[in-house]
Amino acid sequence: MAQSASPAPTLKSVLLEQLRETHNQEQWFVPVKVAIEGLTVEQAAWKDATDNHSIAQLVNHLIFWNKQQLAKFNGEKPPAFSGDNKETFAGVDKASWEASVRQIDEVLTTWEKAIEAADDAKLAKWYSTIGRISTHNAYHTGQIIYIRKMKGNWDPEKGVK
């Protein structure tokens, strides 16, 4: 039986492909879900003595901004925000770290579903923000891998040797 050709690429398919590659589909760089796999709360919460962020703080920062923009995309009121970006780098305890691992996956999955359901007019209005979400995810994931390499708890077989 002849196979049907792949559907023609669209703005939607490109935005989704890029977002997924920062979420859970590995291509050129490690996606955030893989980057935080297997971390204990102690490893996630480790930070040096300066203002540099822990992995958990970086993940919570990503969750915050992904949720903020998703709420706006959906026409909902976003979570309260004072305007101080420092507050978005929240720390964790054991229970909240497990919740953070779950939430970063959930918010990106929800974003993908929202993009899938959006029409062209909506995407034409939002493509720039969605693109920035992908680059922002990639940025902090790059940091996370290097913090893990510093602490010797990153498996180089997952990328970034």
Binding site: P9, W28, S134, T135, Y139, T141, Q143, Y146
Partner: protein, 140 residues
Amino acid sequence: MPDGKFDFSPEKLNIAGSDYKGVRTFGQQLKHIAAANYLIWSPITGEKAPANVNDGKGPDNMTTKADIVKYLKDSFSFGHKSVATLTESNLVQPISSSSGKPTTRLFLATFAPAHAFDHYGQLVEYLRMNGVVPPASRGQ
């Protein structure tokens, strides 16, 4: 990053328990971003990437800050030129990437910044290891 730190790699810090053996230096990170920019963006116009992309490593003998920053800036200028050729009709037309994979000009145009940002995150760690807070993160 000061000129004298472009050969900095966290491997040099010999941090107990770390796994930084063989990671790129600060300069090598930037050369990789630049070389990748050329490789990713060149199929947009069909122009051949310059020979000095060197499998994504950039020129081996390029070591000074001035030369590396110029190489990086030139790669982004190349991207701007490529992106200027995008039209509604060619944006999502199927083409091949430098490695021969099916892709679109829109994906290539927007993927390179995401790739660069992933490395920017690594560079931020290098900067902070040297007591430098990246300009974009100051005052936050």
